[in-house]
């Protein structure tokens, strides 16, 4: 009964390094999202996907890229990490047909950029 799984859970990067966060969901959801959580700012949407092969920009997309090659996976990439990207990243998914439906979240990935 995994739900939404994020890997890795923790990562420390140096400025300029690259990395990829993987999100996997086993609920056959169409929609997937990447949010970042920062103190005093709540969660902000980075990118989202409405189906396999699709991606779209959210509120704070700069410095990030995403891919949805398989329906169950949504990858978030940082090509050249910056200290401003130090944050906790959450992946979420929801069902296409459930208008106003619940988003199911992963446990978060804490990223520190030195």
């Amino acid at each position: 009964n995994a739900g939404v799984t994020q890997t890795p859970k923790f990562r420390v990067l140096k400025t300029g390094q690259s990395m990829t966060l993987l999100c996997a969901q086993d609920m056959n959801h169409e929609y997937m999202y990447w949010y970042r959580q920062d103190p005093g700012m709540g969660l902000r949407l980075i990118h989202y996907s409405v189906g396999e092969g699709t991606t779209a920009k959210g509120e704070v997309p700069d410095g990030y890229n995403v891919s949805r090659l398989k329906k169950q996976n949504f990858l978030l990439g940082l090509e050249s990490a910056a200290p401003s990207q130090t944050s906790v990243y959450f992946c979420a998914s929801s069902h296409l047909a459930a208008r106003g439906g619940e988003l199911f979240f992963g446990e978060g990935s804490r990223l520190t950029v030195l």
């Binding site: 999202y33 709540g42 969660l43 409405v50 459930a98 619940e102 988003l103 446990e107």
Partner: protein, 118 residues
């Protein structure tokens, strides 16, 4: 664009008492949904309660209830009989209903840290 404001960064309550968390939002849309999510120290986001804007009746889920004032754009969460396990950060969130084309995107408030004391 929608904005969600939670003006109480921190709140505390004694076990078994009642506490109310405030949330206001700004939107020009008439069809939308409002949510309260709970984030305990484990970081897992958990849906607490959901309200459809077109419904006059306030949503309730066991000890959790909301006071939805559409004209005032206010959506407060009341927790009755507070328990130690209610200690968490609580987020208010807004979802625009564009007939299926809003794609379920949530706009979150800043969060309120609630501490329940024994």
């Amino acid at each position: 664009a929608q904005t969600v404001t939670q003006s109480q960064p921190e709140m505390s309550v004694q076990e078994a008492e009642t506490v109310t968390l405030s949330c206001t939002y700004d939107t020009s849309e008439s069809n939308y949904y409002l949510f309260w999510y709970k984030q305990p120290p484990s970081r897992q986001m958990i849906l607490v309660i959901r309200q459809e804007a077109y419904k006059q009746q306030n949503a309730t889920e066991n000890r959790f209830s909301v006071n939805f004032q559409k004209a005032a754009k206010s959506f407060s969460l009341k927790i009755s009989d507070s328990q130690l396990g209610d200690t968490a950060m609580y987020f208010c969130a807004f979802m625009y209903d564009a007939g299926g084309t809003s794609y379920g995107k949530l706009t979150f408030g800043q969060g309120t840290i609630l501490t329940v004391h024994p």
